[in-house]
C-alpha cells in the first residue's frame, strides 16, 4: 500500500515548476542567487520567481536595469568568483548583448586557465514568437550549440522545466536554459520529491514505427499534434523531445531512426545551421544515410503581424506535409 499523505506528483503551471526548482536549489546552496529584470518584487517576467524575493530577500534576488550585457557579464564574473548566479534574460533575442561575456569569458575560462577558473552561471531565457515582433521572438539556440564549454537545454513540460533547472544550478556551467513564451500557459505534473533530470537525455513522447520526428521546446507540442493527424492517415510517428541540445542525446535519436528509417527535424528557429541539421549530421555519422527533412521557420524575421507571424512559423500541417513528402505516401 502506498503512503497516501504525500502526493507523488502535483499539477502546476510551467512557471511554478521553475520556481519550485529554484527555491529548492536556493535553499540547498546559499551561493545561488538570481539577477535580472523584474525578478524581485514583480516575481519574474513570467512570474516564474514568484515568492522568492519575499523568501530570500534583495541580496539573493536582485533586480537589474535593462542592461543585458552588464547583467550577463556580472553573472559570468560572479560565477568565476565562486557563486552560482541564475541570470534571467526575459527575451532570448537580448542574450546577443551578452555573448562576449558568456562565450569568450564564461564558456572559455576553463580552457584558458587550464581548469583554474570556471564559470557556473545559468542564463535562463525565454524564446519564441508570440506577437511581439522581430526583436522579441527569436529562437537562436542553434547559434549556441556549437560553443565548446557551453551547455544548452530546453524543457517542453513543467516536469522537465523543474528537473532541468535543478541540474542547471548544480552543473559545471555555463548553462543556457531556454523556455518558451507559449509554454507558460500549459500545466503539467511535477514530482513532489526532489528529482533532477540529467543533461544529455532526450525523451520519447510518443512511440512510433514509420518516422522519427525530433524537436524541442514548444515545437514538441506541434510535433505531437502532427503525429495525431498522421495517425489518421495511417502513418505511425515516433516523437522525440531532445530536451538537451548541448550535449545532444544522439543515442536515443539513432536508435529510433534505426527502427523507423526516416527522420524529420522540427524547430521554431531557422533551419539554416539549425538544430535539425546538427541532429541529421550526427545521425549520419552514427548509422549512415537515412532519408531526412527539416522543418523550421521561413527565412524571414518573425513579424508581429497577426497574418505574417503564423505564416512564418511551423505548424502541424507543415510537419504533416513534410512527413508525407519524405515518406512518399
Amino acid at each position: 500500500m502506498s503512503d497516501n499523505s504525500i502526493p507523488i506528483v502535483k499539477r502546476m503551471f510551467f512557471r511554478e515548476a521553475i520556481a519550485k526548482a529554484v527555491r529548492e536549489e536556493m535553499t540547498a546552496n546559499p551561493r545561488v542567487f538570481i539577477m535580472g529584470q523584474d525578478v524581485g518584487a514583480f516575481g519574474g517576467s513570467y512570474r516564474e520567481f514568484d515568492g522568492l524575493f519575499a523568501e530570500f530577500g534583495a541580496e539573493r534576488v536582485r533586480d537589474t536595469p535593462v542592461a543585458e550585457a552588464a547583467t550577463i557579464g556580472i553573472g559570468v564574473g560572479a560565477a568565476a568568483a565562486g557563486y552560482r548566479p541564475l541570470v534571467s534574460i526575459t527575451y532570448m533575442d537580448f542574450m546577443m548583448l551578452g555573448f562576449d561575456a558568456l562565450i569568450n569569458y564564461g564558456a572559455k575560462s576553463r580552457y584558458k586557465t587550464g581548469g583554474q577558473l570556471t564559470s557556473p552561471v545559468v542564463v535562463k531565457t525565454t524564446a519564441g514568437a508570440l506577437g511581439q515582433g522581430v526583436a522579441h521572438s527569436q529562437c537562436i539556440e542553434s547559434w549556441l550549440m556549437s560553443v565548446p564549454g557551453l551547455k544548452v537545454v530546453a524543457p517542453s513540460t513543467p516536469a522537465d522545466a523543474y528537473g532541468l533547472m535543478k541540474t542547471a544550478l548544480r552543473a559545471e556551467g555555463p548553462v543556457v536554459y531556454i523556455d518558451h513564451k507559449r509554454l507558460f500557459p500549459i500545466p503539467g505534473d511535477v514530482p513532489m520529491e526532489e528529482t533532477a533530470i540529467p543533461f544529455g537525455q532526450a525523451v520519447v513522447h510518443r512511440a512510433g514505427l514509420d518516422v522519427t520526428i525530433t524537436s524541442h521546446s514548444f515545437m514538441v507540442r506541434v510535433a505531437m499534434e502532427a503525429a495525431k493527424k498522421l495517425e489518421e492517415a495511417g502513418i505511425s510517428s515516433e516523437v522525440i523531445d531532445l530536451r538537451s541540445l548541448a550535449p545532444l542525446d544522439m543515442e536515443t535519436v539513432a536508435a529510433s531512426v534505426g527502427r523507423t528509417g526516416f527522420l524529420v527535424t522540427l524547430e521554431e528557429g531557422q533551419t539554416t545551421c539549425g538544430v535539425g541539421v546538427e541532429v541529421a549530421a550526427q545521425l549520419y555519422e552514427r548509422i549512415g544515410a537515412r532519408p531526412w527533412a527539416r522543418v523550421g521557420a521561413l527565412r524571414a524575421p518573425v513579424s508581429s503581424n497577426p497574418v505574417l507571424e503564423p505564416a512564418c512559423l511551423p505548424d502541424a500541417a507543415r510537419v504533416v506535409q513534410a512527413v508525407h513528402r519524405l515518406l512518399g505516401r
Binding site: 499539477r11 510551467f14 507558460f184 500557459p185
Partner: protein, 101 residues
C-alpha cells in the same frame, strides 16, 4: 431554470485554469455583480461575477482543481427549490462578467 457556469475563455492562449477560491457556497442567493469564484491562469487571476441573479446550487470543482476552458464548474437555478438534473450538459449558460486582475 437551471444554469451552468463554465470556465470563460478570458485570457488569450489559456486552455486550462486552476480554481483559486469560491466566494459563495451552495445555497447562497446570487445578485448581479456578486463575486462567485476566482480562477487562476498562468498569468493572472480572473474574478468571475454574476451577470444575472440566481441561487448557487452545486459546486463541481474545488479550490486547487484544474479545469479546461468551457467545462462546467457550478450549477445555478433561478429558484432554490428546483430539482437539479443528474446531467447538466443541456443547461443554459449562466451569464457572467469576468475581470482579469
Amino acid at each position: 431554470m437551471i444554469y451552468q457556469l463554465t470556465v470563460p475563455a478570458a485570457v488569450p492562449g489559456v486552455e486550462e485554469i486552476r480554481i483559486l477560491e469560491w466566494h459563495k457556497e451552495p445555497g447562497a442567493a446570487i445578485e448581479t455583480g456578486d463575486l462567485i469564484v476566482e480562477l487562476e491562469t498562468h498569468k493572472a487571476v480572473i474574478e468571475v461575477r454574476a451577470g444575472q441573479a440566481g441561487v448557487l446550487r452545486q459546486v463541481l470543482a474545488q479550490a486547487g482543481d484544474w479545469r479546461t476552458i468551457g467545462l462546467p464548474v457550478a450549477l445555478f437555478s433561478s429558484d432554490a427549490s428546483e430539482e437539479l438534473p443528474s446531467d447538466a450538459a443541456g443547461a443554459s449558460a449562466m451569464l457572467v462578467e469576468f475581470e482579469v486582475t
